[in-house]
């Protein structure tokens, strides 16, 4: 009997041992599953966080790149990253790549952002004003982005009209633009997403051409544009009598009109040319009445503008809060095409390095793709 019990006990012991080993193996596998899942999640978080930090860095300094892989310890893991310029899907983009390692698990994440277009923050739309706007006649304002040859650059434009006051779209005037990376074609009435009325300019609306370009912090202390125009840099001109201008305009064209009425206006203006066109006086009542001829590529900064019958590829910004006609633009048959390329070209004419960086309170990097 005792032998029989001994056999049973031994058998049970062997059975228990085998079962116990199997259980241990299962528990180990289950634990490994959990640990792997946790590690993958943590590696993903590390890679995502790294890319977001890299984007912040580029936002502060748009020229910042990391062409050679850099490895750093972060959040108890390790990450290797690069920031490079690349062409992806036929478009110039910034590529952010991060490979994170955590407990033997790796996760690679790649993100692409649009190449930042550095433009003065005051250019809020194809037309930016500090006064009521009326669009009449056959005026078309297209805030979608264009090249200097007027071809469309998708999903990178701005609003058609941005104003601190009101907008009245009448006649056969069509407005289009881009909002949050989505293009809206010319329409009447315009899609509300491409019109910004009753806006408040942070810190107060600019009061001079130099402040539109950012003021001293951006390399434009008061009088800088005027001094560039006087210097003749890149064909720049400074005149007080617009009839003496040479065409085509180039560089910085600074027309300083008297503030004495009714001599404060430039009538039937031929604006053919490119660069930065400034029509201004210290009373901010210098006026263009009838942009009558020519195609201008670049930035137009005018105190007061009535009637656009020509073509502007770039952007227009108006300074006066008290327009002579009660509103600006008015009856027109012209075409205004927003163009970051033309604006950038215009800024380069001043030979001042653009400093319009991205970041909080300014423009942001636009993320095109995120592969995780």
């Amino acid at each position: 009997m005792s032998r029989f019990i001994l056999i049973i006990v031994l058998g049970a012991f062997i059975t228990y041992s085998i079962t116990s080993l199997t259980q241990n193996k299962l528990v180990t596998q289950t634990t490994e599953n959990s640990v792997n899942n946790y590690s993958q999640t943590k590696a993903r978080n590390i890679a995502n966080s790294t890319i977001q930090m890299l984007m912040s860095q580029v936002a502060d300094n748009v020229d910042w790149r990391v062409p050679n892989p850099v490895t750093k310890n972060i959040f108890d893991g390790q990450v290797t990253y690069t920031v490079t310029d690349t062409i992806f899907d036929g478009e110039e983009q910034i590529k952010f790549s991060a490979i994170a390692s955590e407990f033997g698990t790796t996760k690679e994440i790649t993100a692409y952002t649009k190449n930042p277009i550095l433009i003065p923050p005051a250019l809020e739309g194809a037309i930016t004003t500090n006064n009521p706007v009326v669009t009449q006649g056959g005026l078309n304002v297209d805030g979608r982005n264009h090249k200097m040859d007027a071809t469309l650059v998708p999903e990178s434009g701005t609003y058609a009209i941005w104003t601190t006051k009101t907008l009245n779209q009448t006649g056969n005037s069509y407005l289009g633009g881009t909002d949050d990376g989505v293009d809206y074609p010319l329409m009447k009435p315009a899609d509300p997403r491409v019109i910004k009325v009753l806006q408040t300019y942070p810190g107060g609306y600019p009061t001079s051409p130099d402040s539109i370009l950012g003021g001293p912090a951006y390399g434009y202390p008061e009088g800088m544009l005027k001094s560039i125009a006087i210097s003749g840099l890149n064909g720049s001109q400074y005149v007080t009598d617009p009839s003496t201008l040479s065409h085509p305009l180039s560089g910085v064209t600074y027309v300083e009109l008297t503030d004495v009425l009714p001599f404060n206006k430039w009538e039937d203006a031929d604006i053919s040319g490119s660069g930065i066109l400034v029509v201004h006086n210290t009373s901010t009542n210098a006026r263009i009445k009838n942009m009558e001829a020519g195609i201008f590529k670049g930035m137009v900064i005018v105190d007061d503008l009535v009637h656009v019958h020509s073509t502007v590829i770039g952007a227009i910004i108006l300074l006066t809060p008290n327009p002579s006609s009660g509103n600006t633009i008015g009856n027109s048959s012209g075409l205004i095409l927003y163009s970051t390329e033309a604006i950038r070209f215009a800024l380069l004419q001043t030979n001042i390095e653009p400093k319009f960086n991205y970041g909080f309170g300014k423009n942001r990097l636009y993320v095109n793709h995120w592969f995780e």
Binding site: M1, F4, I5, I8, V9, A12, T15, Y16, T19, T22, Q23, L26, V27, Q29, T30, N33, N36, N37, Q40, D89, A111, E155, V367, H369, W370, F371, E372
Partner: protein
């Protein structure tokens, strides 16, 4: 007389020892089976969740058109360049009917199927519960009835996934179950 007493006593004690070990063996066997099935179910679920996470985080990647074509409580169809090869792929997750899935003895399970580009199912996962919920940019749940419209589907910024798997066979009057729930915020939508 004492021999008889020894004999009876031995039988009683031996019988008790045998019963104890038999009971122990049965308990170990049941626990082992439960652990085995639980491990199998958990392994299957983690494989499935790896796949779901891989796909769902990429919703809308390299797609400038409509990102999500179908969004329902137990079905989703979306577009993404899932292989990062420059070619847009269509991913379709949908569930079958528990009555038509007879491969297991579990009457509650049904197949969660993943189809890529309308080809033969790229994966079929037996589940007993699968539910998708959709949230807008403010984190508010979007009603399923609204999601028949593309403009509403364009508002989807976050997806909630809840999934439950059970063992194919019954163990000790119950099915071993493992449940998984996750909120995913695809960055391309």
């Amino acid at each position: 007389m004492s021999d008889w007493l020894d004999l009876v006593g031995s039988f009683v004690i031996g019988g008790m020892v045998i019963l104890i070990f038999a009971n122990l063996n049965i308990s170990i066997s049941v626990a082992a089976s439960e652990n085995l099935f639980s491990g199998i179910v958990q392994g299957g679920l983690t494989s499935a969740t790896d796949l779901i996470e891989y796909d769902f985080y990429k919703i809308g990647y390299r797609n400038s058109g409509n990102k999500i074509e179908i969004a329902d409580s137990n079905e989703i169809k979306f577009y993404s360049d899932i292989d990062n090869d420059g070619v847009l792929d269509e991913l379709h997750y949908f569930v079958g009917d528990s009555t038509t899935f007879t491969e297991t003895s579990n009457p509650n399970d049904f197949l969660l199927t993943r189809e890529k580009n309308n080809e033969i199912p790229a994966a079929s996962i037996p589940v007993v519960y699968f539910k998708l919920t959709y949230y807008d940019s403010l984190g508010q749940k979007i009603d399923y009835t609204l999601l028949s419209s593309q403009s509403e589907r364009d508002k989807i910024k976050t997806l909630g996934i809840r999934m439950k798997c059970e063992s194919a066979d019954m163990i000790d009057d119950h099915y071993e179950a493992v449940e998984w729930e996750k909120i995913i915020k695809p960055k391309n939508i």
